[in-house]
Symmetry: C2
Subunit: 397 residues, 2 copies
Amino acid sequence: MAENIVHLVLARVSGAPEGVKGISLFVVPKFMVNGDGSLGTRNDVHCVSIEHKLGIKASPTAVLQFGDHGGAVGYVVGEENRGLEYMFIMMNAARYAVGVQGIAIAERAYQKAVTFAKDRVQSRPVDGSIKASVAIIHHPDVKRMLMTMRAYTEGCRAMASVAAAAYDAAHHHPDAEVRKQNQAFYEFMVPLIKGYSTEMSQEVTSLGVQVHGGMGFIEETGAAQYYRDARILTIYEGTTAIQSNDLVGRKTARDGGQTAKDIAGQIEATESQLLDQGSADALAVAKRLKAARLAFVDVVEFVAANTKASPNAVFSGSVPYLMLAGNLVAGWQMARSLLVAQEQLEKSVMGVDVGFMKAKITTARFYADHLLTKAPGMRDSIVEGADCVTALALEAF
Amino acid sequence: MAENIVHLVLARVSGAPEGVKGISLFVVPKFMVNGDGSLGTRNDVHCVSIEHKLGIKASPTAVLQFGDHGGAVGYVVGEENRGLEYMFIMMNAARYAVGVQGIAIAERAYQKAVTFAKDRVQSRPVDGSIKASVAIIHHPDVKRMLMTMRAYTEGCRAMASVAAAAYDAAHHHPDAEVRKQNQAFYEFMVPLIKGYSTEMSQEVTSLGVQVHGGMGFIEETGAAQYYRDARILTIYEGTTAIQSNDLVGRKTARDGGQTAKDIAGQIEATESQLLDQGSADALAVAKRLKAARLAFVDVVEFVAANTKASPNAVFSGSVPYLMLAGNLVAGWQMARSLLVAQEQLEKSVMGVDVGFMKAKITTARFYADHLLTKAPGMRDSIVEGADCVTALALEAF
């Protein structure tokens, strides 16, 4: 039985205004549909080639030809000339979803790397504790790679979860002021979730290949597929640069950095809780979180002060700003997780999974000591290093 | 006409000692050779499969079967039981060469990205300087990506060139003490050139894909091939972790960090020259170089003091130490390039390529402000963040 396919197409009706204001959304079916619901004549839309892509090969990307054989029939969706607005309904949801896609593929790469590292035997431990070759998960550098994968993934997942809760509160909380605050928080999070989680998925899937060594380079192993598939995530539904334009323009400069500073204030409150908690892990995390927050606030002030006057300087650091902000917020959520885990352990909550809680604390500590430590250097690059980004003459490239 | 193929095989002669001491190197031809030089009977070595790899597909990796049909003939190369020693002659040369491979593919990715960025038109400039869509090289974030690719590539190439000169001096300088110093310098450089240049080639080829946007994900464009091909470079001829073991053990701990500190002393001398030079670029580079050098020296002291007593702590940070050292040395060479370029410009040397010299200065400044700025954070991770790398219980992974 023949099946119908429906294409969603952005195009213009005749006489539409110029530019984006004249774009409408159309549904273009492969087959026309008869009055009784059965498939009728073939519409004039044809797939003329399938692209050969680096990854996501189960999701074909095609070149489609419309109307070359007499004209294709399309139906306007909604109202004429509102196509771009409709597309952004999809796009805004997709940005969050693609961020989650990055987290999901990172998690899968982590699980696969852990399984391999527990199985593959190579070399004796460097500390001489075992006089025979061991599974490679015993080697400190393999642990470092796995911890990096784990910390990134857990941090980004926590960030996405908190943003999703804010989205719900923004729509359903009874208090209008709370709805407004949650909406602002959610909107600030979206470019971080999309931009940072997908950038981190590149690093995590690459580490996944590295843990596998030479086997990782063989497609049969499967680690390379995550690496190839993840590579689209920083590109589609708006590249990381497009997300960072949104972060700089609509999410930071427009309100003079107020939402960003409110978030910094919440992070400072978490630091106080960590200091009150007082464990060695909590204190170490508080120290890194504070340094990263101060770096973030410097950058926010730089962005708020200069976006209008020196747009080239600000946009020279827009992606590093997004990466710093995403790193900070994910690390903040790990710090909050640490507080919950330590409370659960100290109160000996009934049925608490002690191993899970301890692992959460160690992972939060790792995030702080190995990932949050990047933030101050990024601040220096953004705030003090803008000029040399755009200084090179075009002909010198 | 049939051609012969020769396989180099590590195996053991009967009665050889156990372990690596009993390994010999063999030549195993595909065809036996007759007395008159013509090809004789087929040897019992067969290719039973070709691996499907992520990249370097023009260099097939095969599963070979030896002797399953009666026995293969192989000829010992050199002396029996010295096979591993012979292999390391190849391996040591290959480590330097694979580092250069990383630099070469990074350069190619950069050139391709520049060509695309000058051609592809999209969006107006953020500073409003042109009221029409422009080639994307005008956008600050595209410039940032291209400058990152360029700075990494030039820095690593300078590092590899300086190491090659040291290798020559180590072999041919008339003064034995100078030969010795150059040999120590070269040996310290090899893990950095192999490890750091190949790790940077992953980032640079990934940025090359990113500059191309969606087109970068289409194999036809070619950017994705560099990304796939580069992925083997941190794995073969010893993974980055293996290079970092060499850097920690033989190159740092063995002489108590003396060679590393000698190099730090040379870097400090470059800082003095930058301060004497006194231009804004020289002063900015001096500041970053100093911070990175101090970070490096802290790590060297940590490694020298703890490799024996706390090997797990040191090897938890061995790859970050390699990355910090490579970053510093490449940035140092960029700083030296800046000094030469500024001297050439100030003395108005006859026939000097002014554009080239200016570009070198800007690229050195970019390296300092955007790449050397990573060093202090890496120091913190290595020196203060070792415990959490190995703290997680195995069953928690």
